[in-house]
Symmetry: D2
Subunit: 349 residues, 4 copies
């Protein structure tokens, strides 16, 4: 931690800061510059909240040397985290990127869901996704079927063997969702719902954590840290687009570079969601490819048996024929990338 | 609702859209332009999700005429909402702007809290705020005393008569928080935690709803709509700063213009929080003034008996002497504005 | 300058960095942390571009202690810069905030311009503004009358005594614009047109420099630095709104807090433009007030004799009767603030 | 054009709007909704500035049906623009994506430049880039060698046959730059320097137009429109990253989705610049790949013979050995994509 003092900080201000640091076991070095005094503090930040230093008289700014996330950091664990499922499917590391597909929300039409699941199975996808509880910006929109949806997903799993991904919105529903889901999804709007993060931290299911639309990479990894800190290290990150000043053509701005950045600073797997990330059907294929070539461990795509009839997100869903066409091409790319990955061609660093 | 078709939309595409609209009782007018066909649909949007139209083949874009919030809209209620408390304090309309002050989080030092409360009382403030449950970006930071904090707030209320504002983070704590609080705060990170919005929608306490750091004004008013739709119309909005590309000097970018915009489109009261809105002690006074001159119904400011010892947000808190100095000046401005308001000088529209 | 090395930086990497620093006369201190090595370099950054260090192997990040602007910095000049005109008008410091009004672009209707100028004179404004050369996002829009407009402005100056503010878009026009203008305006889109900054740096007229819609405060002050570095220290900054993810209700997001921030870090005067800053007529009055209460040295407002006929920016212009109404109230506020300023009531810092 | 009237618009307001529209030859249809009146105006927007309507009393908002760019629009020209050079190199359409490499700025070391050029030639790149005039945020940084740099580029062209790309910053330098350059670059900060756009619009060299860091796609295409409108249709767009709230890990946020969006709405070629787009050497390869898989017509990458000695942008430059390694892999990807492109596999739309 480096503390930069204001140009008009007094000797007493400087002393107060250095004393507090020393009390907390920091090694302190003071540099008197010609404009600002700078204090280097070496030690363990957990014993003293930096906010306390920041609030002291004469302190201009604090700069940190180490990233604030620890459990999620590659400094702690150099090798990639790999999450393995009972049926042998694996996410992360040198494994083949996975595909997670299905409707935005599960609707009261089991046959429609099954059609999607069967097509997913046929295309070699590993996961079926579908919302039982839907966060909706407006209270006037459809907000999910609840447990009935979970039962439909369970039936589709039985018929196809696909693993189930579904969103948890309320910690009160945790046990119910765990009964049906293989992976629990935390939605973008709940990325900093710390009660919810804590509750999935206390369960033992893998968690897909979606990046908030205005979250920095650091905040995103700290949200993962909340889950890991509470005991669950099986976190799969998901990039799904940011708020931007330009929303004339896309719903969000998909941050493709976040994928290789996170790969460098964290060992956690990360997938890409081009449906929410763009809000446009015609952008799903190119942006899925973009995510995959930069190293994503999987893609999550919305597929609906009849998009114009979808109760949510139809505009960004593929129909079943479109899905087949797109994933035939995506599978070719995934195979090529998997081959390269297993041959361990590294990038310039 | 106006539907703009793609330039290459077929006659069948256009017919499919118009038929679905008519089925749902819309009056439909089709304009064939030289490039795009445009469909006007007049009717009640609640019977048909616009997303369904948006997902149909050949549809380029939908444009809405009416704002999507209804209960919160000034179109529905022309006069300002005024929220009145048992002790006669009122927020909104032509009433004197209120002051809500106190520490970010209530710490285990009742005397410190009481000092702040007594100073607040002396300066004519109406509300004491303090967090019992704190959302923290990092799991390594202090996250609140819980019910003990609520008991401290209750004691301070007894001694000073100040009304209590405190944050609810989990719907499971609703009853407990209601036992102590006069106003329930929903934090910025929970602005789209719809389960939480629903739960406070079902209680009868006034709610301060803080704007999410990347929320549009429309999303903000729709979040208020969630609370109102569930039965609680006593919503107080709070502008507290947005994420910005420039955070070298301030923590957030306080959107002062949101206050007069919201006053124009909604009847709900709105207050300003310059502590979180800037993250800098020296900006609290000028930005509180800015919020007040554009019409805010109150200010919320962090005050701590010893900011450098604060367990959270010390950098943006006033000490008690600073608080007295700042609020003496703010009270003069509030008195002037109140006088003008009651004399009903209107702005150019 | 503090250099943070990558966790896997080698001893050779560290040595290469320290040697280069020493060659350039820096005093160097190396701290070996348990994760990262940190190098403190004390000395004059002008002799060595930090980019060279940043590009060396093993360097993670460079952090600066001093602000990069120097001539514009309050560290260099503690007292406010005051710019004085031949007729005694002054901008900056404890002087009464000034008013700069007029149409967005000067149109081919001298009488209309004169009506605005006469009203401005009557309301005590000091400056008449009007564009002769207009930057337009689309090539299909009106882009100004050129020298004819400058002649109209000169005539209006003769009849009213108002000082003239007009925009320079091309350094080739500098001499012509200087013949007519008392203040040269650099538009927001040209804030980083360094050739233009250099050319006004070489003239001796005061310059109004508008903040680019996506410029940080640091970039803004560095743009001012370009002008000052080339010899012209008479720079007046102008906050006029930023790009934002929410443009449903306003054209830009006016950054009111930038005004007190810049007042703290720079000695240059700063004014506020609520017309461009919001794009909405009804927001001009409240946002002008917000800018003034936080310390702006002036306001710039668009006034047109017939806004619905304006060839540009009519939506954000006041008509003459509206202008009179608004400025009668603004003048009351300006008088109060001026009184307070001259009584030197300071803010909590 | 659709005009939405305010809820309290009077009959006279509505009549004034419809009359003005009719005067300008628009076909007008008025819909009286239960809240808002909506006016449809069909006709040619060039005869009447929409700003005039927008400024009329009672008008809430105007919505446009057609995109404002015309010459750049795919509505006008369905097939891709292809730009061909004297030596047979082509950019755009189904042609093989091109590579443009070289140092950020040309320095006073011809041998260094030649080394880069020879390596570029060897790797099959078509263009050598290098700045003679450099826009610099701070006046204290190196701003280019001027004509000497242009002469160095010409010599390198002679020795290697590579085509030359260099930036124009001032229209006064146009003739000089045209004497040496095969492609003129307009930098991101000058994207809305309309004088400069006009000047390159009047020359007959192809232009690379870089997207401004806070420009919407619409503003970007309108900037291209300025060049085309002035007579030069040989415009190559370049995506190079946007301002973002998260700059802890990258300098800009590279908007990969802009590439397929622009491909859909415009016929102009577009390339990607992962050096400026990320500011990080390790991100150049993955982000170049991301740009290419979504359809970019080329990549522009900074290569320097000795990045730690570079006078600008060393952090985001590849050294020559790194360049060879990265482009060997990129060439494999380019070959694959080119093959697919020529086999005309289309995406789901």
């Amino acid at each position: 931690m480096i503390i930069i003092m204001e140009r008009d900080a007094t000797a007493a201000n400087i002393q107060a800061v250095t004393e507090l640091l020393k009390e907390h076991g920091f090694k302190v070095i003071v540099h008197e510059g010609d404009v600002h005094t700078v204090i280097d503090a070496l030690g363990d930040k957990t014993t003293l909240s930096p906010g306390r230093i920041d609030a002291m008289d004469g302190v201009k700014k604090i700069k940190f040397i180490r990233e604030p996330f620890r459990l999620a950091s590659r400094d702690r664990q150099a090798e990639d985290t790999v999450i393995e499922f009972e049926n042998g499917v694996k996410i992360g590391g040198a494994n083949r990127p996975v595909s997670i597909v299905g409707p935005c929300s599960v609707e009261d039409d089991y046959d429609g869901l099954l059609q999607v699941a069967l097509a997913a199975k046929e295309l070699g996808c590993q996961f079926l996704r579908g919302g039982a509880f839907k966060p909706r910006t407006s209270p006037y929109d459809f907000d999910g079927l609840g447990e009935k949806a979970l039962k439909y997903l369970a039936r589709a799993k039985e018929e196809t063997g696909l693993l189930i991904v579904t969103e948890l919105m309320d910690s009160a529903d945790l046990d119910m969702v765990c009964d049906y889901a293989d992976v629990i999804q935390i939605g973008a709007r709940n990325m900093q719902n710390f009660k919810l993060l804590k509750s999935v931290g206390n369960c033992n299911k893998p968690v897909i954590l979606k990046r908030g639309p205005a979250s920095t990479i650091r905040e995103f990894l700290l949200a993962a840290e909340h889950i890991m800190y509470n005991g669950n290290e099986k976190v799969i990150l998901c990039e799904r687009g940011l708020k931007s000043f330009d929303n004339a053509f896309t719903r969000n701005l998909l941050d493709i570079s976040a994928i290789p950045v996170i790969k460098k600073y964290s060992h956690l797997p990360i997938i890409v969601d081009p449906s929410h990330g763009t809000g446009q059907r015609y952008l799903i294929e190119p942006m899925a490819k973009a995510g995959l070539v930069v190293g994503a461990d999987g893609v999550m795509v919305e597929v609906h048996h009849n998009p114009p009839q979808a109760l949510s997100d139809g505009k960004q869903s593929l129909s079943i024929p479109q899905f087949k066409e797109v994933f035939t091409r995506l599978n070719t790319l995934i195979d090529t990338l998997h081959l390269e990955k297993s041959m361990a061609i590294s990038c310039v660093d």
